[in-house]
Point group: C2
Chain length 273, copies 2
């Protein structure tokens, strides 16, 4: 398993530096020599869409993805339609920001019927996929860890994400693979191989033991038990050579000065990814 020798594929997912604005995060990447950034919509909204696009373009930074669309299941047809409208706006924003990928966190069920919610996800993606293609944006279904099945995503395995993605044109729908969400899966290497041609993103962080928190307990690369390099090599072998985002929801990291976080992240990336 060959290590990476430079930062050319590294991308800062903005969730890692939650206290930074778009401008601060972009400047931080430039200072640290990080060539890409994954932007979050609430941060883009704070800075303004046009201004965010201008900031990014002015530095030549690549936008590896926009987070996030999705959250398709809802109790009523009107609510589901509102979610679909929001996904159309997310696609427009991604296009405006120059991102070729919109990450989909598919959403929880509105009730106990997880099977019906999974159908709503498929239907929601079908409703927006052609529009995404028109705007030059691909949709990346991100399976989330099963511990988020009740409150964030009824899509919980790579197999399941691919079962949906494969119902669409390869130019429209693929998957985003986050090591935190998939590392436990006995099928993960088989499914990564199957994902060839559909991988639109690869996200890294770590699973620390014991996990300090459900939502904000992700660890810095190298602090946990995930075989990150093995997963990265598997993703490479499946033909993905795009950006590798570092996405870490962790309160202690958020409380650390951003430049320190980025420096540590670059070092750990070379050592462990």
């Amino acid at each position: 398993m060959q290590p990476l020798t430079d930062l050319s594929r590294l991308s800062l997912n903005q969730a890692t530096t939650q206290n930074w604005s778009v401008l601060e995060a972009v400047d931080g990447c430039v200072r640290a020599g990080i060539p890409s950034i994954g932007l979050w919509r609430h941060k883009v909204a704070e800075a303004g869409l046009t201004e965010s696009a201008r900031i990014v373009r002015s530095t030549g930074l690549q936008v590896s993805s926009v987070c996030r669309g999705g959250f398709f299941p809802a109790a009523t047809p009107a609510e589901r339609e509102a979610r679909i409208d929001d996904n159309r706006r997310a696609i427009e924003e991604a296009a405006e920001l120059g991102a070729s990928v919109l990450v989909l966190v598919c959403g929880p069920a509105p009730d106990q019927d997880i099977g019906a919610a999974r159908e709503m996800v498929r239907d929601g993606i079908a409703a927006v996929a052609p529009y995404a293609q028109e705007r030059g944006v691909k949709l990346a279904i991100e399976p989330l860890h099963p511990m988020f099945a009740a409150d964030r995503s009824v899509i919980v395995t790579l197999r399941q994400a691919l079962d949906i993605a494969e119902q669409f044109d390869q130019q429209q729908v693929g998957v985003a693979i986050d090591v935190y969400h998939v590392w436990w899966d006995p099928e993960v290497y088989r499914q990564i191989k199957r994902a060839e041609g559909r991988i639109l993103g690869f996200h890294t962080n770590d699973w620390v033991v014991p996990p300090p928190d459900f939502l904000l307990g992700r660890g810095m690369i190298g602090d946990g038990v995930i075989e990150i390099r093995r997963l990265r090599c598997a993703v490479d072998a499946a033909g993905y050579h795009g950006p590798i985002e570092v996405e870490i929801f962790n309160q202690a990291l958020w409380d650390t000065p951003g430049d320190e976080v980025l420096a540590l992240m670059c070092q750990r990336y070379i050592a462990h990814v």
Copy 2:
């Protein structure tokens, strides 16, 4: 989906009343009209094995299972052998207590190599299965929720548990299905069907939203999002007609008087299981 009409299949898993001794739990079951109990080894050790067996026999209560064997992976051959010895003791205890099932929580990896740990689980089960059969005890592999993959069990799906169980005689090794651990799985109904003839236990509780805690956040039946009755009917349709344990790790419940917990549990069992 037909509800259950009486308590004849209900079993109190002792984890639900963590502050009760074996004697207190057995007496509590008798008072509440609960015909079975799932015993934990640390509680049995506190009371003494012979005394625990005497207490249970004196009331005619059925012992639905003993928790738990497993924890097979370890860093060295000597440590792995010690784990296997401990499983032999667990089998002896189950036999002495009149339990026909020993639940296996298979254990985490000692390092980052989750694949190797999974091999150690298989090898560990192979080392003890013949002994279990000699003593009239079946081994129930319990897949745990993937959020426990790093600290409790590298066996995380019913598919994976069955892949192992099917390498052994049906009289020796099967699976225990806990709704908390499997409810999120897109394959769960397919795998329950596949499990026909191998289901050795069915455990109930609920997944509350948002989850209050990693380990002690299980909810009382009916307080969460799990389709418990649908899962119970699927397990019935797969030929399981044995005890249905209620196993809830929850600090608030532990702080509630045991008789109140059992009364609520009986009511929710009829309403939701």
